[in-house]
């Protein structure tokens, strides 16, 4: 099997009496897209927040490669190679596409907080910025303010920023939310290309896209994992069919 980029073991998150996530374990491998699906309130977003560090676990452990990151703050996790795109687009709206991505590239440069020298003078950061913009297909829009982009382009920009931080694993939280058919097509192809040399964990409601993209699936329900496996295995799993997929299992 390929090497494990991220391994979570027995994760639990309690908000007071509410157990949003109880005993979730998940492995994400390099070169693989791992999708987490489940009905609303299943704990998918909480899981992503636990993995990225915006929430701390009540119990359990998270390892990034060989490093235990359970207690690390989000910025430390990011510098160790964990990239995340958000459900609601959270770019820097007043900055241009280039400036947004450059900020991301700069975050992973050797001296991200230098006070001397103009920000434009770092050739390495500049190259990685241009590369990430190119990969995300935004090159013609490089010098446009992010707030002027269409919704789909803003999602592309999100992904370009994650790419520019040169992550080993990318967490994508509903990258297709609120997107039309044709816009979604481009993003799906872009996501499919991300797994080259990286691990991708995606939470998504669009089942057609999930079954097209995912190499492995984890199905959550009420904070528990009820099934893990290949799309084929998950589709045939009786508990999944009753709990979640319904008719869609046949259609997909």
């Amino acid at each position: 099997m390929s090497d494990v980029a991220l391994r979570a073991n027995g994760l639990q998150k309690h908000f007071g009496g509410l157990k949003a996530v109880s005993d979730v374990s998940i492995d994400v491998h390099v070169g693989e897209i791992h999708a987490v699906i489940g009905p609303n309130g299943a704990g998918k977003s909480t899981l992503i927040n636990l993995l990225s560090g915006e929430l701390f676990v009540t119990a359990g452990a998270i390892k990034l490669g060989d490093t235990d990151i359970t207690r690390l703050a989000p910025d430390r996790r990011a510098r160790r190679g964990l990239g995340r795109a958000y459900q609601k687009t959270t770019i820097f709206p007043k900055f241009t596409v280039h400036e947004n991505v450059r900020l991301a590239a700069q975050a992973r440069s050797p001296k991200p907080l230098r006070m001397f020298g103009h920000v434009r003078n770092n050739a390495d950061v500049h190259d990685r910025t241009a590369q990430a913009i190119g990969k995300a297909g935004l090159t013609p829009r490089t010098h446009i303010a992010a707030e002027q982009l269409s919704h789909g382009e803003q999602r592309q920009l999100e992904i370009a920023m994650v790419l520019a931080t040169d992550p080993r694993i990318i967490l994508l939280d509903e990258p297709l939310a609120g997107m039309g058919q044709s816009e979604a097509r481009g993003i799906i192809d872009l996501i499919a290309s991300l797994k080259n040399g990286r691990a991708v964990l995606i939470v998504e409601h669009d089942m057609d896209a999930v079954f097209e993209l995912a190499d492995r699936l984890t199905v959550m329900h009420d904070g528990h994992v009820i099934a893990t496996g290949s799309p084929q295995e998950v589709r045939m799993h009786p508990a999944v069919r009753t709990a979640y997929l319904g008719d869609h299992g046949d259609a997909a």
């Binding site: 900055f95 400036e99 900020l103 006070m115 020298g117 920000v119 010098h143 303010a145 931080t165």
Partner: protein, 331 residues
């Protein structure tokens, strides 16, 4: 773009020539205004660039002034090369402690915490015997700049003092311009615009903000040191929130998004005061109305006046997104 250079060059020539043509009173007056400009630019590093609205910058300002007063030996001048670094370090240390605690809060809570710490320092000097309590203390002689007994500059001369302030001011503009355009400055702006996103990209938000806050406090200390030297007197009011709020008004008048805007804001507000004081007893009322008008009519500061007069700037960093969009489609 020659137009971008023209204004600063003309202003610099005016600034250099001015003290030779106006009476001494005005040389001192402009020195005072420039010192407040330094303080306003320092505050704007925290407020405008860092998104940290601080109400305790007068405390950093006053603290440095008190350090000069306490280190001045009786009626003899203190050594500038010795006391200025000590004063600035004291302000920076205060900013480090206050910032480290206040930056655990956000928004209006941050304002309240900085206000509380500022007032604590005010009452420290107001209610204890340190340097004369509420009566304040004198700085009897201006600090001297001398190396091995040889006096380099005579700060007691208003003209020399003015040029020393001007030199510090120009140095500060260069420093702040560099910081704002550096990777650090962009990270600071990113943290201001979208803290969560900046953190998930890998930026240590707390450290970035604290660094900016301490730098800002240290520069406020430089201003306070020279203010104490110029007035020859320090009083607890130098540390009070009244002054903090006044400087905040200067920043708002001048505009939050530029380095030199707050300097212009300081000159406008202090100039306004001087003119109004001479012409009416109700100058505070008139001043308040004018400030309200400026803030309402020019929400991005009086620097906005310039593009209003000559048309929009062509600078690539400030061009509106719509023109950028049309340009990009032609590429």
């Amino acid at each position: 773009m020659p137009r971008n250079w023209l204004i600063p060059v003309v202003l610099l020539i005016v600034a250099v020539a001015l003290p030779f043509v106006v009476p001494t009173y005005y040389v001192q007056f402009i020195s005072k205004a420039l010192i407040m400009g330094i303080l306003a630019m320092a505050l704007n590093l925290a407020v405008g660039h860092g998104g940290m609205v601080s109400l305790c910058h007068a405390a950093f300002f006053g603290l440095a002034g008190y350090v000069l007063a306490l280190l001045s030996p009786g009626y003899d001048p203190a050594s500038l090369l010795l006391t200025l670094p000590v004063a600035v370090l004291a302000s920076a240390a205060a900013a480090l402690v206050i910032g480290a605690l206040a930056l655990r809060t956000r928004g209006v809570y941050f304002i309240m915490v900085t206000l509380a710490f500022g007032e604590m320092l005010f009452f420290l000097f107001h209610d204890t015997g340190i340097a004369g309590g509420s009566d304040g203390a004198y700085v009897n002689a201006k600090p001297e700049l001398s190396i091995a007994g040889y006096q380099l500059l005579d700060l007691a001369s208003p003209l020399v003092f003015y040029f020393v302030i001007l030199a510090f001011l120009l140095g500060l503009i260069a420093l702040l311009t560099m910081v704002v355009q550096s990777p650090f400055g962009h990270a600071l702006a990113a943290a201001r615009d979208n803290e969560r996103r900046a953190r998930s990209l890998g930026y240590p938000i707390f450290r970035i903000r604290l660094t900016a806050f301490v730098l800002s406090g240290a520069i406020a200390g430089i201003a306070g040191y020279f203010a104490a030297a110029q007035f020859g007197f320090v009083a607890p009011q130098m540390l009070g929130w009244h002054l903090s709020a006044t400087v905040l008004v200067m920043v708002l008048i001048g505009g939050l998004r530029s380095v030199t805007g707050p300097l212009i804001g300081a000159l406008v507000l202090i100039g306004l005061e001087e003119v109004l004081k001479a012409s009416t007893d109700y100058w505070k009322l008139i001043e308040g109305l004018i400030v309200i008008f400026i803030v309402l009519a020019m929400p991005n500061g009086v620097r906005q006046l310039w593009p209003m007069i000559v048309g929009p700037a062509k600078d690539s960093d400030t061009k509106p997104a719509t023109t950028a969009a049309t340009e990009a489609t032609h590429v």
